[in-house]
Amino acid sequence: MKILALDSSGMVASAAILENDTLVAEYTINHKKTHSQTLLPMIDTIAAMTGTELTSLDAIAVSAGPGSFTGLRIGSATAKGLGLALDKPLISVSTLEALAYNLYGVPGLICPVMDARRDQVYTAVYRFKDDRLETAVGPCAVPVDELLTILARYQEQVTFLGDGVPVYQKQIEEKKTFPVFYAPAHLSRQRAGAVAALAKQYFLEGRTETADEHKPDYLRLSQAERERAERERAEKERAEKEKAGV
């Protein structure tokens, strides 16, 4: 079984090829150049260096979000184009779950935090149980303080990772009421190798989708939709008050 995996959900661009239980290639860049310029050349490089014919792939896995909206779409459109051209299924992997999978087997809670701007992080809380990643708190966008309140209920050790760590480490250190660890540099960011390893599990469980139906999981509405929903809610409330004669 052969899987090509991509992650362009954040600053990192990463591509990997997994063959059965072997990660035959992984190429990760954590630098400023846009994913549009790096991702496909990276795929091309690892495919060429490993002599991988794309037609021999069983599926294309992509880190589907949350993350940078544009970054997610570059990964998704690349995966969708490859899937369409090669007639292969896609595997959508949660970016947060793939990040947590970097810390396979680590005891206690694992908490990926991605800087979501607007004073929030994209986060979720996981733990490993019997070889499997178990979700304690599902993906959400919350302020770090709220996340720390949630984590405090468990009173367990927590290992943080992700690009939200350098942004919020000081705040975590000030407010923590439980033992805290931070993943080291080689495990702390998105890696397509982890996406590929998780995708293999998904694939064996039949959790694939067609290239046509795949879309990113943004976890957030666009600003325009959010503001429109707020406007409509406010108007509805006003109308109801008027109706009630207030």
Binding site: D44, R73, K80, D212, Q223
Partner: protein
């Protein structure tokens, strides 16, 4: 000679479009998924919503373009894609998709300038049209008067100094309560109005005979509406629309005719979304007829953003040897004639 089939992909604004074009002129399919209804809710194109929609539509649109053309990707010779100008998030969907398809099928990739696409829409229905010719490109984002010296080679004579013509249509339509999209709505309601009812200024620029400026006309309309409102006088939506449209169309035609005379161009074409405006088409045709120029304009379906025009433009770039690498990026402010 063997036929060359190009898959053309366009996602620069709010249309997800793909097409298969044979030898640059014969359209085998032209699929356009428009998002107008969605953006109408917001009074204009919302870039993030447009980008999200592109991702959902792109594969089905491409698949339909291939199946309506009765071909598979194995029959395609090259993939052409708009890489600028446009909304960056929207462009990136098409660019990433096109690159992945070309890479997976080992096909050449040809990045296309969106405006070069609009100009090339004229080749589709006019087999006799070949450069050199004069072309006026008018759309929601662009107003250019250019000499098309050769395929993909342009001499820009004039451009707008502020609002694009289509942008002015949208803004005026909003001001008189017609809503989005403004171009087609003003065109329609103008037919019931008196174009001489109100005198709006012309969008000329002193000392630049081929440049345009539409913000003044737009402001004049807004001032007129305000002043009528203050005086408590009724406003005829149709008269305002027709008078505004006349002012814009006149300056577009005058400058085009001036340039055609100055540069001895016997062939005049129009392109872009606003080129489907019936007043502009009629006025330009009439002006060309009077002067003995040949007049070319695409059918409305090729004036709006579409994949066929990208396929047509990509064909001429392809046979010239233009190729892009897997690092092709979206360039939101790509200039006409610029190669990146």
């Amino acid at each position: 000679m063997k036929d060359i089939l190009i898959l053309g992909i366009e996602t620069s604004c709010d249309e997800t479009a793909a097409s298969v074009v044979k030898n640059g002129r014969t359209v085998l399919s032209n699929i356009i998924s428009s998002q107008i209804a969605l953006h109408t809710l917001y009074g204009g194109v919302v870039p993030e919503i447009a980008s999200r929609k592109h991702i959902e539509k792109i594969n089905p649109v491409i698949r339909q373009a291939l199946s309506e053309a009765s071909v598979t990707l194995d029959d395609i010779d090259a993939v052409g894609v708009t890489y600028g100008p446009g909304l960056v998030g929207a462009l990136l969907v098409g660019v990433a998709e096109a690159k992945a398809i070309a890479y997976a099928k080992k096909l050449p990739l040809v990045g296309v300038h969106h405006i070069e696409g609009h100009v090339s829409a004229n080749y589709i229905e006019h087999p006799d049209l070949e450069p050199p010719f004069l072309c006026l490109i008018v759309s929601g984002g662009h107003t250019h008067l250019v000499i098309v010296k050769d395929y993909g080679v342009f001499e820009i004579l004039g451009r707008t100094r502020d609002d694009a013509a289509g942008e002015a249509f949208d803004k005026v339509a909003r001001a008189i309560g017609l809503g989005y999209p403004g171009g087609p709505k003003i065109d329609k309601v103008s037919k019931e109005g008196n174009a001489d009812a109100i005198q709006f200024p012309k969008g000329k620029v002193a000392d630049s005979p081929y440049d345009f400026s539409f913000s003044g006309v737009k402001s004049a309309v807004l001032n007129y509406l305000n002043s009528m409102n203050m005086q408590g006088k009724p406003v005829s939506q149709a008269d305002v629309a027709a008078s505004f449209q006349k002012s814009v169309v006149e300056v577009l035609v005058e400058h085009t005719m001036q340039a055609a005379g100055d540069f001895k161009m016997k062939k005049v074409a129009i392109a872009g979304g606003v080129a489907s405006n019936s007043a502009l088409r009629n006025a330009m045709e009439e002006a060309c007829r009077k002067r003995g120029f040949s007049f070319y304009r695409p059918s409305p379906i090729f004036c709006t953003d579409n994949g066929a025009m990208i396929g047509a433009a990509a064909y001429y770039e392809f046979i010239k040897g233009t190729r892009h690498g897997w690092d092709l990026n979206a360039v939101p402010s790509l200039r006409l004639g610029e190669r990146i």
